[in-house]
Amino acid sequence: MPEVALSLTARDFRSDQEVRWCPGCGDYAILAAVQGFLPELGIPRENIVFISGIGCSSRFPYYLDTYGMHSIHGRAPAIATGLSVSRPDLSVWVVTGDGDALSIGGNHLIHALRRNVNLKILMFNNRIYGLTKGQYSPTSELGKTTKSTPVGSPDTPFNPLSLALGAEASFVARTLDADRQHLQSVLRAAAAHRGSAFVEIYQNCNIFNDGAFAPLKDPDVRDDHLIRLTHGEPIRFGADGRFCVTHPPGGFGLVVRRTAEVPAGEIVVHDESVTDPAYAFALTRLSGSDLGTTPVGVFRAIDRPCYDDTVRTQLAHATATMPHDPTGMLAELLDSGDTWTIG
């Protein structure tokens, strides 16, 4: 991928299109954060491609002055796979939502993650269908009342990060639309990761699901709910770090306890490079629909073979031993097998 000393700014990544999300939508903050972050990549604009599906979030590519494709519902990871595999010189990003990625496009998401295609997948999770005006989504809470569930949703929601880990994701992170600094730090880590990077961004839909993530944003209470993961640091949160994450005395997983009641040595030190996905999975299970204790940051970032690289290595291996004479090779190929001559 060409990397040059560029003096691009956020402004350079703004397209000439009028941004048309509802006023107050969390997508504005994400767009500004991404536009502010992209210059850091040091990649020419023309080598960056954003591919989206359908939904409010999927309008995203229109507003970035890069190459972009607004594709069809749920299929962005598939289309991006074809592009990324065939064009290693590009930085390919997928912008999707909770309905796009986890409902109609669930199959493509899990397969992109298991293959570890070199894609940066930004999933804006607002826990609602916004573009179609307010139906429950696969991340809406059980019992949620929406236009299509007047007496409450009977569906158990996905935990998107648990799902991603189950699909063998090599990079899994979560951040918030309103926390620009944190969002950009996660984007930075995702961009640096070779392979699929799955980033869940909690995003407020102020029209159909306003305040969905209020406990994580309200300055008065958020510190007791938000667990900021930092690689190499003990996992503590709350005012003065009064809560911590530790292993339960028996059983599996991780639990939250009062720091005062836990010997310092038993507080889990966050390590995103743990290869056993059980650790990151346990982290994702600290929160559910209720957002009671919600980790944000990079849960997992491990090295494993990237699909693009493997495919291209096979190609390179096949082409390396051949003279570059495609016409001659073709003639030879056609004239192979059981041939005979007449006349």
Binding site: H70, R75, A78, M322, M329, T341
Partner: protein, 629 residues
């Protein structure tokens, strides 16, 4: 042509054992259990026959089940081969020879034979349970029910095991070589050269030399059996067919499609990218292309049909020749992405190897019932180019033509093959590679609008194609998508007049793709009946027309390669004849298009039995039309 054996001469030249009789054409069907290796046997006999210079057409017929219960009717697998001293346009209507490896194979195929046909059976299999399993109450070899045929009872299994007794292979392995015994016998009867088969066996069993030796021994034993037994008193020869000089190989439609795609990559100087999901009967194209990575071809076996075409479209967006291969159910799933490709105006080749539908239908049987979905099966006004190959070897040229249209006119192209051409085979005159069409394209490099702007939907006045500006090109960054685009700029537009313009423009740009005029084969000045076909019906239609002309009847024939857009002179051609007959393996899908488009009362002749038309049935239909016209 006819399926009867023309006993043209009986030559005096004879080997020591048997006189040799000259035949014009022969149709052989090898039939057995799916585990009996009938496809391989047929393939080898075909290869031996091709080397003799006969014209050939083949048709395998196998169950969808990989291994149906042994000895049952659903488990019967067969391979039919027609070889001729003149033209072999179809695999033949009725076999002259049936090789039946068990009672099920006899029962399943007997009705297709002409009276007097030769039947070679493995008598070892015609025992109690094997007979009752398929409903024979008495042994058909003994109850007189085969009196109208020339039956050759051969204890194939016993003879094979006996021949291999000293080779040290297990009894089971010895028994499995009985297909080579049968092949050896048939090779003797029809005086086929067998060196290539022996080489093939050495290669196939390279890691197990004892099996290679056993199979070679079985083959020779079969040959020698023919020579020494008194049951086979005559050998047959079929003289080479007069064919244009050149290098030939026998090829199936699926293999020819794959090679055509390789050639399209070479001639366009673009990387070929295949996104595919396994589906019968298209998977062989994926298998074949995945072997040719040295041409820079990427094959991705996707998680589903939708991802397969999505990845292909993504690759096309990046400047590759994107291809996806599938069959009917997959086309249905790909519909939304094909519509996106129509809106994005990017090159994309979609290959549909049709099979009998609807739904899962009969996956290993042929049909032409996806013409409607190819032409019309999308939401919105979403026109695209549709073409169809006529024969197995023609698939090579058809693949190149699909790529040419896709690349030149920046459009998805659907290529409608079917199970009959996909798995059938015929001799292919190898093309001169340097004379294949030049498919090179120019990517957009410079802004094309005022003030250095790039207008992704500003069209080439000649082709109406928009610029192909691939990511990575400085100064041309732009956004495209499924939302309606403003003419020229490609910006999102809900303007009513713009939508009307864009819908009409997308229609016009497909309608104006130049397509060669039709050339009608009509040797008689007073012909009143025209037969018009498309796709794989070419063989039986041509054979039927020639048979009628040999009998002095006048019939014209024309065959469509391009189904959208249709050739400009098609209306004139239709108007020239009193009656137009359109045979199709569907319920009249092309006929409906012709009636709607040209207001011509064409006669639709249809059949949906999962098998191709026979020459005989079409000749009857055409003859009736000629009588009525």
């Amino acid at each position: 042509m006819t399926t009867m054996v023309h006993d043209t001469t009986t030559t005096g030249a004879a080997t020591e054992q048997a006189p040799v009789r000259q035949l014009d054409r022969v149709v052989i069907r090898f039939a057995g259990d799916s585990g009996d290796g009938m496809q391989l046997t047929g393939d080898r006999f075909t290869s031996e026959t091709a080397q003799l210079g006969n014209d050939i057409a083949t048709l395998p017929n196998f169950p969808a089940e990989i291994r149906a219960p042994a000895g049952t009717l659903p488990g019967v697998s067969s391979f039919q081969l027609h070889f001729s001293a003149s033209d072999a346009l179809t695999p033949g209507d009725a076999p002259d020879v049936l090789v039946a490896m068990n009672p099920a194979a006899l029962r399943a195929n007997l009705a297709d034979l002409r009276r007097g046909a030769a039947i070679i059976v493995d008598t070892d299999e015609f025992t109690g349970r094997q007979l009752t399993k398929v409903g024979y109450r008495a042994n058909p070899l003994e109850d007189g029910s085969l009196d109208g045929y020339e039956v050759h009872p051969v204890p194939l299994t016993t003879l094979t095991i006996g021949a291999l007794a000293d080779t040290g292979v297990s009894k089971r392995d010895a028994e499995r070589a009985k297909n080579m015994f049968a092949l050896g016998l048939l090779s003797w009867i029809y005086a086929r050269p067998f060196a290539s088969t022996l080489r093939f066996l050495e290669r196939k069993f390279a890691t197990r030399p004892e099996l290679a030796a056993a199979n070679v021994t079985a083959f020779r034993a079969g040959w020698n059996y023919g020579e020494t037994t008194e049951d086979f008193t005559v050998r047959y020869e079929v003289a080479p067919a007069p064919m244009p000089p050149g290098r030939y190989r026998n090829i199936t439609g699926n293999a020819a499609l794959a090679l055509g795609l390789v050639a399209a990559g070479v001639r366009s100087e673009l990387p070929v990218f295949l996104g595919a999901y396994p589906i019968t009967p298209a998977s062989d194209i994926l298998h074949e292309l995945s072997k040719h990575k040295r041409f820079g071809i990427t094959t991705v076996q996707a998680e589903d049909e939708i991802a397969a075409i999505g990845a292909a479209l993504g690759a096309s967006y990046g400047g590759a020749l994107g291809v996806t291969t599938t069959s009917g159910p997959g086309v249905a799933l790909k519909g939304e992405t094909i519509s996106l490709a129509v809106a994005l105006e990017l090159p994309l080749v979609v290959i549909d190897v049709q099979r009998a539908g609807p739904s899962t239908g009969m996956p290993t049987k042929t049909e032409q019932a996806d013409l409607d979905i190819a032409l019309f099966g999308r939401h919105g006004e979403a026109p695209l180019a549709v073409i169809a190959p006529a024969t197995p070897a023609d698939c090579f040229a058809a693949a190149i033509e699909a790529a040419r249209i896709a690349l030149t006119y920046r459009t998805p192209v659907i290529l409608l093959s079917d199970n009959y051409v996909a798995n059938g085979s015929e001799p292919w005159l190898l093309p001169d590679v340097s004379r294949l069409p030049d498919l090179r394209v120019s990517f957009a490099r410079e802004p094309n609008g005022p003030d250095g702007r790039f207008l992704p939907y500003l069209r080439d006045p000649q082709t109406m194609a928009r610029p192909w500006a691939v990511p990575g090109t400085p100064g041309l960054a732009h956004r495209i998508g499924g939302l309606e685009k403003a003419d020229g700029t490609g910006d999102i537009s809900y303007d009513p007049a713009n939508h009307d313009l864009m819908v009409r423009t997308r229609a016009a740009r497909i309608a104006s793709i130049p397509v060669p005029d039709l050339e009608v084969e009509d040797p008689d000045p007073d012909t009143r009946v025209l037969v018009l076909g498309w796709g794989s019906t070419y063989g039986p239609i041509t054979a039927a027309c020639r048979a009628l002309r040999r009998r002095g009847l006048a019939v014209a024939q024309v065959h469509l390669r391009h189904l959208n857009p249709l050739p400009a002179n098609l209306g004139d051609v239709l108007a020239r004849y009193d009656r137009v007959v359109v045979p199709e393996m569907n319920l009249g899908q092309l006929a409906r298009v012709l009636r709607a488009r040209y207001l011509v009362d064409v006669v639709s002749h249809t059949k949906v039995e999962g098998s191709p038309f026979t020459t005989g049935e079409l000749a009857n239909v055409f003859e009736r039309m000629i009588g009525d016209a």
